[in-house]
Structures are given as C-alpha cells and as structure tokens.
C-alpha cells in the first residue's frame, strides 16, 4: 500500500498544473480475505486486492470526476487528461466546492492482518453448532471476511486525511426446511474488530436462526386490522434508513423531502433519539473521513423527537442553505426506552412482531407497504404463530409519531445499536 498512498497528492498536483482551480482526490485501497461456506460445505477461499481512485476537478464552477483503479504514472496521467475533457464539457454550478483546510490527520483501528486459521476455526465451530442445535437449518451462504481498508483524501486546500481500518464481517443467510416445508430465508450481518467470541454470540444471529427453525409452518392472518406492530432491531434498521434518505441531498435539493421544512421541529415521538455515530467506540464499524472530505463526527439526527440535523454533504448544504452534516450517515444508534421487550409483547391485544420487512421503495410522501417476513402474530399478549402472506402498510411520518413504547434491550451488530420499538396504527392485512 505504501507506493499507492502518494496517488491522491499526485492527482491534485497534476490537476493544478493543468490549470484547474480546485482539485481533490480520494483513494481507497482494500485487501480482503474471505472464507465461504455454502450448503453443507466450505466452498471458497477468496483473496482480493483492489483500488478505487476518485479524482475531481473544478474550473469556473464546472465540476467533473473520474474513477480508476490504477495508481501508476501512466494511468494517472491518462485519468487527468480525461478529467480535463470532462470539466471542459461541463456546466457551471456555483454550489460546487471542496472541503476547507483542516489539520493533517491519520486514524487507524482494528487488525491489519487476518488470522486465517482462526477465521476457519471460528466458522467451523459456527457450522458445527448449527448442525447440532438446528439440524433443520440450511446455511445457504455464510461468509466470514477480514478487510483492511486504507482511505486517503487530499485536496488543493491543503487537506490531507487518511485512515486504516481492519475489521471482520460475518454474513449468514439461512432457511429452515422440514420435509417439504420451507421457512422464508433470513439473514444477519455483524461487524467485529476481533474473533474473540463465538460467531453465533454476535448481534442477533443466533436468535434469528432459532426463529427460522420454528417458521417452516406458517399461517396467514385471516383478517385485516389496524394494530400494534413491534419492530425488531434488525427490521428497524430499514425504516431508519428510509427516514435518513428523506434527509439527504437529492430529496432536499429537489424540495421533495417530506422533512424539508422540519429542522428543529418535532417530527417524532419525544422518546425517539437517533444518532449517526461513525466514531462510536461501542460500534465495531465506522469511518473517520466523510465522503465530501471532512474529518467525520457523530451527528444527532433526532433529539427527543426533534429534527436536529439533515444529512447533507457540502454540496447539498450549499444548494439548500442548511448546515452540512458532520457524518455521512449510517452507523445508527437509537436510545433505549424503559420497557422490557417481554412487557411490550404482553401489552399487545392484537398485533405483529415484525422481524423482517420486504417492502417496496417508500413513496415520496412517506407511504410504505410490504410483506411481513419471519414475523409473528401476537394475540392477547402472547406470540401466537409465525405468519405468511401478511402485508403491512403505513406512512413513515405518521409511524414516527405513533410510538407506543421502546425497549430497554438493544442489539449491537457492529453497524448499529437499536432497540425494539412498538408502533400503533399500522395496517396489517392477511390473506
């Protein structure tokens, strides 16, 4: 990696010599070691070495970018020549800019080298336990990888930020099958800095596998009702991502975001506090440098239900007049509530434990609908049976204001720390 680290500076210098007014370059060098288990066997060991070098130039407010995956002098020169053509072809936009001067910094976290023998033995223990504890569970694909990512950002304002992050990730996709009865597939992903604990103890993976073996026989809900829906942490992530999308550049710049006029206004129940925390020490994943070339920070998005920040980049900020977010989103943390999950379930007269949501892209106005997967019907305070062919529908704006309770318990999968949240007024429709 040492030779490649000079590429961003070379690109910026090349562009300045070619007469551009502002230049920036972002380098990502990644080295991955991956072991795959598929069906009933170890299937593949994969090692990859890749580069992504993004070069951006601005001249007379005309901006263009090119991305290559080479760092040799010839490739850099070619990329710069092509970029000059693209800038020349472009059109002026006064909002384009690069990040302002910041002190040079280097950040690092996690192991640089994989422990391949330990990776294999941890995965072997994992599949061995699945065979023993959950014999009806088919592991469609389990991938354990270690990735080392070196990132570097430099620009013509003298910014020089770089980071090196090593981490392990586990992705498991599974289905239970008994005779001809098949459960819906389910999956889980966790991120960790080390392999000190058993893989099944990470995040919610063991609970999800246990649930799957009880989901080979499912029942459609025989009616349509508006009721309480408890959304699990795995499922909640999708709804939070939807909320976050409405706060990003495109819907904000086009004025189509349902929250465009809601800054510092209450948009959710006062018990909801949501942060994007790429620097959290509680999370194994994260990032140190934002996409637009700033040292990353943690962002409070919702504070006791009040919208405190959009998720705008420098460009989005200059376009809309709102402040730039200090994070680039993701790595979401929701504050826990004060009820136990057990009590939350007990309080439901008729509702759903929504464990996975297979939904259409939410509409511009916040409407969503989709299928409840790997989920359970709750009746008279008890989890009754796993459901099939059951749909849920609602509106994200209304949903955030219809929180009944938030659990004390949370799940940390390295990417997020989220509780269970119960919402009221969601339409549940059966067959």
């Amino acid at each position: 990696m040492a030779d490649r680290t000079t590429a961003p500076a070379s690109c910026v210098n090349h562009l300045l010599k070619n007469g551009v007014e502002k230049a920036e370059s972002r380098l990502l060098v990644s080295r991955k070691t991956e072991i795959n288990y598929e069906g009933s066997d170890f299937s593949l060991m994969r090692t990859t070495d890749d580069i992504s070098l993004r070069i951006t130039g601005i001249n007379e407010n005309r901006r263009a970018s090119t991305v290559i995956n080479k760092t040799d002098d010839y490739s850099l020169a070619q990329a710069v020549t092509e970029l000059m053509d693209l800038i020349e072809s472009g059109e002026a936009d006064p909002a384009v800019d690069i990040s302002g001067y910041q002190e040079e910094e280097f950040f690092s976290r996690g192991p640089e080298e994989p422990d391949v023998e330990l990776m294999y033995s941890r995965l072997d223990e994992f599949v061995g336990r699945v065979r023993l504890e959950y014999p009806s569970l088919l592991l469609e694909q389990v991938i354990l990888d270690h990735t080392l990512k070196y990132r570097s950002y430099e620009n013509s304002n003298g910014v020089k930020l770089s980071s090196k992050i090593g981490e392990y990730t586990l992705v498991a996709m599974f289905t239970a099958k008994e005779g001809e009865n098949t459960s819906s597939f389910n999956y889980s992903a966790v991120c960790t800095e080390n392999l000190n604990v058993n893989l099944w103890e990470m995040g919610s993976i063991d609970e999800l596998m246990q649930q799957s073996v009880g989901q080979t026989v499912t029942t459609p809900i025989p009616e349509t009702f508006s009721g309480d829906v408890i959304v699990t942490p795995d499922c909640l992530y999708g709804f939070i991502s939807t909320l976050a999308h409405y706060l990003t550049d495109h819907p904000m710049m086009t004025g189509t975001s349902i929250y465009k006029d809601s800054l510092n206004k209450k948009i959710a129940d006062t018990r909801l506090t949501l942060r994007s925390m790429p620097l959290s020490e509680q999370l194994s994943g994260g990032y140190f440098i934002t996409e637009d070339g700033f040292k990353a920070g943690n962002t409070t998005i919702l504070e006791e239900g009040i919208l405190r920040s959009f998720l705008l980049t420098l460009y989005g900020s200059r376009k809309t007049g709102h402040e730039r977010a200090v994070s680039s989103g993701s790595f979401y943390v929701v504050d826990p509530g004060d009820e136990t999950l057990e009590d939350m379930v007990k309080s439901v007269k008729k509702g759903l434990l929504l464990c996975r949501f297979s939904g259409g892209n939410p509409a511009s106005n916040g409407d969503f609908s989709g299928v409840a997967k790997n989920s359970y019907y709750i009746e008279d305070g008890k989890i009754s049976f796993p459901v099939s062919e059951t749909m849920v529908a609602g509106n994200i704006k209304e949903m955030l204001n219809s929180i009944v309770s938030i659990s004390r318990e949370t799940v940390n999968n390295g990417y997020s720390i989220l509780p269970w949240i119960m919402f009221n007024g969601i339409t549940v429709s059966g067959k």
Binding site: I35, E38, G39, D41, F42, S43, L44, M45, R46, T47, T48, D49, D50, S52, R63, A64, S65, T66, V67, N69, K70, D85, L86, S89, G90, E91, D93, Y120, E140, Q141, T175, A176, E180, S183, S184, F185, T224, H250, T254, T256, I258, S358, G359, G360, N361, A363, S364, N365, G366, D367, S369, G370, V371, K373, E389, M391, A393, T427, S429, K431
Partner: protein
C-alpha cells in the same frame, strides 16, 4: 488484451483453473432541475483466477494488469484452494466439461459520442420536460452506460472474449398533490453504447409525454383495496415475477439452499399457459438485452426452460452444481467485476408469449387492477414475493378506471402461476434490471402481460 496474450499462462495452471481479465467502463451524467450534477467516467480493470481442488475453490484477484500480477493471482488462487481443501477434505471429482470459444463484440463501430454530446442530448430532454410538463415540481434526467469487457481462459481449453454494453436513460418526474409529492420514473435505452442508443432525443419525447400523463393521473390516484384481486401484470411486472419469484428459486445454488423449487421438479407449478425460459442470448430471433454466449466458467451458454406448459422442467447450473445434481452446466456462471467469483445468475428471463390480447384481458375483469410498472422486488426461498408497484389503474367492468398510488403486491409465485388464465401475445423486454446476489449483475427480464390473482397491499 486478447486471448492470445493469455494463453502463455496456461502452463501455470495446476488442476482446473479459470483465468479472467475484465474491464468495466461506465459513464454517468445527471441533470437535476436543470443543473448538471453528475459528470463522471469510471474504469475498473484487473485479473482474477479461480482453482478447483477436489471440491474446494480458491480465488484471487489483482487490480494490476501485468505479467507478475497474472502469475500472482494464479498462484494465490491455487494456494487458497489448497488451504481449504486440506481443511474441508471434500474429495469431490472433476468438474463436468463443456468448452466455449469465440469473440462477441457489441460495441458501436462509428465515432463515439463525446461527453459534451451526451450532456447536450440530456439537456435537450431536460428542456423538453421543462417546457412541456408545466406542473412538475422536480425533474431529473440521467444517463448511465456500462461496458463489460471480459476475456476468459480455462484449463479445459475454453477461450472467449466479449464486450457487452448497456446504456440507460432515466427520467424522474415529480408533481405535488394534497397528500405530498408524487413521483414516477421510467428508464429508456438498453443494449448498446451511448453512440448506438442516444441517436435522437425527440425519439424519447413520446414515452416521456405518456409518463407525464400517467403521473398526473397518479397524483389524483387512489389507494387500492387490500386483499386478493384479479390483476393484469404488464410485461414489466410479469418480468420481475419471472425473475425474482421463480427464477431465483430455480438457481441450483438456491435449490441447494432449500428453495421450495427443489421439491417441485417435474411437477405442475403453473397453468399450462405458462412457459418460462432463461434465454442465453437470443429470443424469438432477436438478440436479448444481456446476451451471454460463453459464461465466466468457459461454458457455452444455452437457454434454460424452467417451466414448460406449467411443469417445472429445469434449474440453472454452473459447473459445480451440475456435478452435484448430475446435470449439464447451462452457462449461467457470471461475475460482475474482475474481483468477483462467478455465481449462478440469470441472463434474460421471460414468460413465452401466449395468444390473448391485452385489451381482451382487461375487458375480462369486472373488478381488479392493471399493474404496469414496478419499483423493486424481492422474493425468498418459499417463492413468496413482494413487488413495489408505482404505476397502475383499477379495472371496473372491463374498463380502466382511476390511477393507483404507490402500492405493493405479494403472493406465493407457485400459487399465483396456478391462477394465470391468460397470457398476451406481445413481448416486451425491460433491460434496465440490475440483480443483486452477493454481487450486482445486469439482467434482462420481460415478457407478455399475464392475468392472475395476487395479494394487494393497501390501507
């Protein structure tokens, strides 16, 4: 880098080995509300090798493209396969054969468009939208093109080179309504480089005009009634049903993973009106949106008849699943980037046209829905599916009625196909599809319209 340049490395192969050199080149331009916001070109290239050792695969890749890098990835892939083989001790036999040769070049042979010409093309469309669609509160027009250039050499003797381009123009239109913003989008274009697809912007006006009309109706649209309903799924939705809900369950690795299709081979899974094929490269005498002639394992690609007259007939295979299922490889092994290993992927999946007309099908429904365009779709091992629907109309007494707001439909595909009572005689390909399964990959999907019963999600 052509085939002859790679052959010299064949002596380094130890056992079954694939060597692939690949470059993905893309161009992106986007204009949002009249402002040029995206103006970029990307190029990613490199080399990878994959080795098979008695049931264990080893894979390695490098973004460098020189002799040392090629030697390194061959050696590293072999090392990785040995590592796993010593641990896993699967002791499987040789992979089944099949060797493909040839060169397939779908590139444009004239002068390529410059970036300026592409921007001007989109600027024309943007100007047309601004001038002709007065009620818009936001408009986006964007173009993405992708050239995938691959060269594959295998230890068995396969040698193939292909360049498969795709150029798509997206238009996103938004109007206001009392319930908030309402959006509709469409993708135009298909196989070919920008120079072959972006010929005359006025050719797009008609389709954009119809999109705007649908959007205005949608802004005054209704939520459908929740529950099971008679529906016409137009080509876009019939295609996504074929791909997501049936196609994925019949990929042999998904069958091995427990998909419900594994128990249904030879059984009736649909009405006899349904024949479903994953076309390799040519359908009904025309080149498909994503033609594959030799796959990334060097296997000559052939059509896979998944359902024939309602009976489940076959699965899609790579070499490894063919060995496991005692079947022939079908040429479905494809990788997205040079650093990706080939997976079993669909190519161009569609139901074969029938004999009904769309008009007859609509007039046969007393109370139901005509569903035209999907936003996204997901399905699982049970064949239970969910599709977002962004454009559709109610049908009342055989006639189209009010437009529908965004909605979701669902069902169990093998049950839904048993309700198919009509298949239209026309055939439309939607070639904007990008399928996700560990890696993304361009796919073609489409077909005729079908009449069936599905579950409508609604309030």
């Amino acid at each position: 880098m052509k085939i002859n340049n790679l052959k010299g490395y064949k002596d380094l192969f130890r056992g079954y080995t694939e060597l692939r050199v690949q470059e993905n080149r893309s161009t992106s331009v986007s204009i949002v509300d009249g402002t040029l916001m995206g103006n970029s070109r990307n190029s990613e290239s490199g080399v990878s090798a994959r080795c098979w050792k008695m049931g264990s695969w080893g894979f390695a890749s490098s973004s460098e493209l020189n002799s040392d890098a090629i030697k390194h990835v061959i050696s590293a892939a072999s090392f990785n396969a040995d590592f796993l083989n010593k641990k896993a001790d699967k002791n499987l036999g040789d992979l089944p054969g099949g060797h493909g040769f040839g060169e397939w070049d779908h590139s444009f042979k004239g002068t390529p468009l410059t970036q300026k010409q592409i921007i001007d093309f989109l600027r024309d469309i943007d100007g047309y939208m601004e001038k002709s669609f007065p009620l818009l509160v936001s408009r986006t027009v964007a173009m993405n093109s992708l050239d995938m250039e691959k060269q594959v050499l295998t230890s068995g003797g396969s040698g193939a080179w292909s360049l498969t381009p795709r150029t798509l123009v997206y238009a996103v239109l938004t109007v206001d309504s009392p319930a908030g913003p309402v959006e509709l989008y469409d993708s135009l274009g298909g196989r070919g480089q920008p120079s072959a697809v972006l010929i005359d912007p006025s050719e797009f006006y008609g389709k954009l005009g119809r999109l705007y009309e649908h959007l205005l109706k949608k802004a005054e649209g209704i939520h459908p009634r929740a529950g099971i309903a008679d529906c016409i799924l137009d080509a876009d939705l019939a295609g996504i049903l074929s791909h997501e809900a049936i196609g994925h369950t019949t990929e042999a690795d998904c069958v091995r993973g427990g998909s419900v299709a594994g128990d249904c081979l030879g059984r009736s899974v649909a009405t006899p009106l349904v024949t479903l094929i994953d076309y390799a490269n040519t359908a009904h005498g025309e080149t498909c949106p994503v033609p594959v002639y030799v796959d990334d394992e060097g296997i000559p690609a052939k059509d896979v008849t998944i359902i024939e007259n309602g009976v489940l007939k076959g699965f899609m295979h790579n070499r490894e699943s063919a060995l496991e299922f005692n079947a022939d490889p079908t040429g479905n092994a494809r990788a997205y980037k040079f650093s990706d290993e080939p997976l079993i992927r669909m190519r161009n999946t569609a139901i074969v046209p029938g004999s009904s007309s769309l008009e007859e099908m609509i007039s046969s429904i007393e109370d139901g829905y005509y569903l035209m365009k999907s936003s996204n779709g997901q399905a699982d091992a049970t064949s239970e599916f969910m599709f977002g629907v962004v454009q559709g109309y109610e049908i009342k007494n055989g006639k189209l009625g009010r437009a529908l707001k965004d909605m979701t439909i669902s069902g169990v595909a093998f049950d839904v196909l048993k309700t198919v009572s009509a298949v239209s005689g026309d055939m439309k390909w939607e070639c904007g599809g990008m399928c996700g399964k560990k890696q993304p990959i361009p796919v073609g999907m489409g077909g005729p319209a079908i009449k069936c019963r599905v579950n409508i999600g609604g309030k």
